[in-house]
């Protein structure tokens, strides 16, 4: 009997706990959806503004290839439309959990700052470097001719010749590194970035190396001119 009595007490207790828990869940303070939606809308707005800046940036980049510009415009366009659609959905969200998920998607689904903006900047950098490679390569040819002419005039061109060799080596290194870098970095998606935050690191490192190569090549060219005119 005692045993039955005890079991009855435990049962009543469990029911009480469950009842209390159910009551507590029901009485959770209602999320202020309006305020949350305002924050989400602001997050969308700052990204849309960034996309507009990137659009203008790409359009004004003289050395950006038409192919890369087209890819960038596609990315920006799809991102803009995706964010616009997402904002409409957010404004219609009726519960906090859906709103929270949608608001998180503003970042994770588009990665405007973490991925898209760097992609555009790197594409501009890479194509500009390609233009510099072509330009400095042409100058190296002219400098070679100038060195030959100076040598024919009795000028000691030992240093100038060495600098030209270094200049050409730097140019060759840059020209060898550049192909495909921009094409590749523009293919990364927000999903890939979410899985690996360093997807752009390799491209960025390569472009920094090319930047250094070209700066040194130009410095060589300027030193050659100084040597020849000394």
């Amino acid at each position: 009997m005692n045993t039955k009595h005890n079991l009855a007490i435990i049962g009543v207790g469990l029911v009480g706990i469950l009842t209390f828990a159910g009551t507590a869940s029901a009485t959770e303070p209602a999320v202020d959806l309006t305020a949350a939606k305002a924050k989400c809308d602001a997050a969308v707005a700052v990204r849309t503004a960034e996309l507009a800046k990137l659009t203008a940036k790409a359009a004004g980049a003289k050395n950006l290839s038409s192919g890369h510009l087209g890819t960038i415009n596609d990315i920006i366009s799809s991102s803009t439309s995706g964010l616009t659609d997402l904002q409409i959905k957010i404004d219609a969200d009726a519960d906090a959990s859906t709103l929270r998920a949608d608001c998180e998607t503003i970042a994770t689904g588009f990665r405007i700052f973490a991925l898209r903006a760097p992609q555009v900047h790197l594409a501009i950098v890479g194509d500009r470097q390609s233009a510099v490679v072509a330009k400095v390569g042409d100058l190296a040819t002219k400098l070679d001719a100038a060195i030959q002419k100076a040598a024919a005039n009795g000028k000691d061109v030992t240093d100038a010749t060495a600098k030209l060799a270094d200049m050409n080596a730097k140019l060759a290194d840059a020209a060898g590194l550049l192909p495909g870098v921009v094409d590749n970095e523009l293919t990364f998606t927000p999903e890939q970035w979410n899985a690996n935050h360093t997807v752009l690191s390799s491209s960025m490192t390569t472009l920094h190396t090319v930047q250094s190569d070209l700066a040194n090549a130009i410095a060589d060219g300027q030193a050659i001119v100084a040597d020849l005119q000394a």
């Binding site: 950098v125 500009r128 330009k135 100058l139 400098l143 000028k155 920094h208 930047q211």
Partner: protein
């Protein structure tokens, strides 16, 4: 006027006078400042006293005592003996062979357009710095 002197006396006088003349003549020779041994024989052109002015080395003065037949010759100092000083010939001045100057290269002027193009390329490349910084900043931002 009567001659008061006898021929013997005259003869004796002549002898005395002659003796006296001889003594005087000898005395004159002995007082010569120049030993006879030092007397240089006058040259042929100098036998004539006060001859031409270009015979200064051998002017001969002839002093003839009154009545004396002996001539005393005073010869001026002989011209300095020809002192032959052999002046060593100056060493031949060696003039180094002219060294050909290295050819001076004319100032070489690089086409200014080349310099300008290099500066332009540098400027173009430099504008990448901002984009690289923006890319890094955006990536660090996340979101």
């Amino acid at each position: 006027m009567a001659n008061h002197f006898s021929p013997r006396t005259m003869t004796r006088t002549r002898i005395i006078v002659a003796f006296a003349a001889g003594v005087l003549a000898l005395s004159a020779c002995g007082s010569s400042s120049t030993p006879l041994s030092n007397v240089k024989a006058p040259t042929a052109t100098s036998t004539t006293a006060a001859n031409s002015s270009n015979t200064e080395s051998s002017v001969v003065s002839v002093t003839t005592l009154a009545g004396a037949s002996t001539a005393s010759t005073t010869v001026s100092a002989p011209a300095a003996a020809a002192s032959v000083t052999t002046v060593p010939a100056a060493p031949a001045k060696v003039t180094p062979a002219p060294v050909a100057a290295p050819p001076v290269a004319a100032p070489f002027v690089v086409d200014p357009a080349l310099t300008q193009a290099l500066n332009s390329a540098k400027q173009l490349l430099g504008s990448n710095t901002q984009d690289l910084n923006d890319a890094a900043a955006a990536a660090a931002n996340g979101g």
